[in-house]
């Protein structure tokens, strides 16, 4: 099964795949095969990691065998760590990466230089995996930058006017976010003298120190990682960047990048390094509630399908941060389960929008109509994803939203609970709009000849839709203890471990 020596393979395998694709790019069909094989490999490894990690265990690997210093016990090398939360995120990231890699075999055939796409895509996957498995703060920053740079290039992949403008805006704002994170890391290093996250949390727990410095650093991290996660008020790049990217990349960006780089890094730092306090909890809940409401309200007037989905991404990230910010076991369970569900159904929705664009040539809901007759797989999968995001039982989204609302009520936050329910109703309204204007109704003459999407795209859509429908089963006791329960207990364990 999994041993500490195989932890770096999560980064090494996609990296090797990326550069082999760059090397052998003239061989026909090889980039597709390499892309799918590497993502299958990392997905299989992440499943092994979940199955073989004992409850509460944390596997550590010292890179280069630089162990802790004998006399002082301080950690000098870079450590890679694998615990319940990391394996949970690894499964999410690599599953979506695998499905998207299968989908891109057909979709990216319409673009030139498909091999460059797979190189950048595998680099992004390597960066995201690296963020999840690292235990060192500067290493986290480096992997965040690798994944971000790859994603800037992928947003600009179509090289049309809008793609370039969106990519420039995304690059500048992402650059500022990284600068804020780096500033925070420097201040923390100057204060504690170490870069290892476990060591740092022990030091911070042991030395009370300067409150002002810690609040400054937390503010910088919330701003920097919040910008990566598209929390309000740092969300302005997302509605331009996500629609302009090619559909598989929109799915990766909305589905896993903003979660791995933004939400996971922020939660790891706030819960396991600094320790959650009531003020931090209210900050997270406020940001979450703001994101939820503003995202869903701004989505109501969108007629471009992908731009509507992008605004809903902002809203659903608000749900996740609200759930995790509540801080109780129920809240964190709801937040992490919603993270899992949102990756699945948001990727599915973006892949569906891509399928509509592939076949019908347009994304504007005012021009579409009646596609369900000619594209049955796409319309059924869009229906299941829409039911899931709106929170209709028994789809997966219903269970996670219910747990978040229960956690709010548990803490006596009636106002927040009612805001959550209201946002859910507005989400349902937006997705009824998509179904009615896009798929139901009369088939317009321009689309009389559209056909269903090719085989690989169909497989990807159906697999994701199945997980949407069956996702609620993850709450059953055998699955919950091993998978979600581990992640929740790592966050609850707090710092100084």
């Amino acid at each position: 099964m999994i041993s500490p020596g195989t932890i770096p393979l999560f980064v090494a395998v996609p990296l090797a795949g990326a550069f082999l694709t760059a090397l052998l790019r003239r061989v026909k069909g090889l980039p597709d095969a390499l892309g799918v094989m590497t993502t299958v490999g990392t997905f299989a490894m992440s499943i092994f990691a979940v199955l073989s990690l004992l409850p509460g265990q944390r596997m550590l690997l010292d890179i280069g065998s630089w162990g802790p210093l004998a006399d002082m016990g301080r950690i000098v090398g870079i450590q890679l760590a694998l615990d319940g939360l990391s394996t949970f995120m690894l499964v999410v990231v690599n599953f979506i990466a695998f499905v998207v890699a299968v989908y891109s075999i057909n979709y990216m055939a319409r673009f030139t230089s498909k091999e460059l796409f797979y190189t950048l895509f595998l680099l992004m996957v390597a960066g995201m995996n690296g963020v999840i498995i690292t235990g060192d703060l500067f290493n986290l920053f480096v992997f965040v930058e690798i994944a971000s740079l790859a994603s800037y290039a992928l947003v600009a992949f179509g090289t049309g006017k809008r793609e370039l403008e969106a990519a420039f805006k995304y690059a500048v704002m992402g650059g500022v976010g990284s600068l804020l994170v780096l500033l925070g890391i420097i201040l923390l290093y100057g204060n504690t003298g170490t870069l290892n996250m476990a060591d740092m949390s022990r030091w911070l727990a042991g030395h009370p120190g300067s409150e002002a410095l810690r609040n400054l650093v937390i503010g910088l991290f919330v701003a920097g990682f919040g910008l990566k996660a598209a929390l309000v008020p740092f969300h302005a790049w997302l509605p331009d960047a996500h629609p302009s990217a090619p559909a598989p990349i929109s799915a990766m960006l909305s589905g896993v990048l903003i979660k791995s780089l933004g939400v996971y890094a922020l939660c790891r730092l706030i819960f396991n390094v600094f320790g959650i306090t009531p003020q931090l909890s209210s900050l997270l809940m406020t940001l979450g509630a703001l994101s939820m409401s503003i995202g869903v309200v701004l989505a109501l007037r969108q007629w471009d399908m992908k731009r509507l989905l992008a605004y809903h991404s902002i809203s659903q990230i608000g749900y996740i941060i609200l759930g995790i910010g509540i801080g109780t076991p129920l809240g964190i369970l709801g937040g992490l389960f919603h993270l899992f569900n949102h990756s699945i159904f948001k990727s599915l929705l973006f892949l569906d929008a891509g399928a509509v664009e592939y076949s019908a040539g347009t994304r504007n809901l005012k021009e579409l109509g009646g596609l369900s007759r000619r594209m049955p797989v796409t319309s059924w999968t869009t229906l299941s994803a829409s039911m899931s995001i709106a929170g209709v039982p028994p789809f997966s989204g219903f269970w996670s939203k219910l747990i978040i609302i229960m956690a709010c009520v548990d803490r006596g936050l009636w106002f927040l609970a009612s805001v959550t329910v209201l946002v859910s109703i507005l989400t349902l309204a937006s997705f009824m709009k998509i179904m009615r204007y896009g798929f139901l109704g009369m088939l317009k003459d321009a689309f009389a000849k559209v056909s269903e999407v090719p085989a690989f795209m169909r497989i990807a859509l159906v697999v994701l839709a199945l997980v949407c429908i069956l996702g609620g089963l993850l709450l059953l006791p055998p699955f919950k203890d091993g998978f979600l329960g581990q992640a929740v207990s790592v966050l609850l364990a707090g710092r100084g471990v």
Binding site: G5, P8, L23, L61, I63
Partner: protein, 144 residues
């Protein structure tokens, strides 16, 4: 470009290349290492392109070969890291050839890692330069 630039370039290109290689190979003894040496080696090719034009420089080291060399450098670095897994840990310094500190042959895999970084960075910066000049000016006259 004028005659003066061309003559001086012809004389100094080899020296710049050699200097870059010197900085890379002594990376574990003197400041510098893979990245700085890679930039200097890339500069020698950029010098060639600026002085003699794209066609001549493509005959010596084209964009295609730059792409290949870049990928090779990255794969070599990754192979060094994974080979360390065999004998020690990930990225372990597995060559224990007992050189003394201060000699050229010492410090295990670090010189090899420097050479891998030289390949990657040199070819990478040259590719960046080519990507920036291949989109021609839209209103000025043609350059070479």
């Amino acid at each position: 470009m004028t005659l003066i630039v061309r003559t001086v370039t012809r004389l100094t290109i080899g020296l710049i290349l050699l200097y870059g290689l010197y900085i890379v190979l002594h990376g574990h003894l003197t400041p510098g290492g893979g990245f700085a040496g890679g930039v200097i080696v890339a500069l020698s090719f950029i010098n060639l392109t600026l002085a003699f034009g794209g066609k001549t420089s493509a005959g010596v080291f084209s964009g295609e070969s730059a792409h290949l060399v870049e990928a090779l450098g990255a794969i070599m670095f990754l192979a060094l890291a994974l080979l360390g897994l065999q004998w020690g840990g990930f990225f372990d310094n597995f060559i224990h050839a007992d050189g003394e500190p201060g000699m050229l042959v010492s410090a295990g895999i670090i010189p090899l890692a420097n050479i891998a970084i030289l390949l990657k960075v040199g070819a990478g910066i040259f590719s960046i330069f080519l990507a920036l000049i291949v989109v021609q000016n839209f209103e000025e006259g043609d350059r070479q």
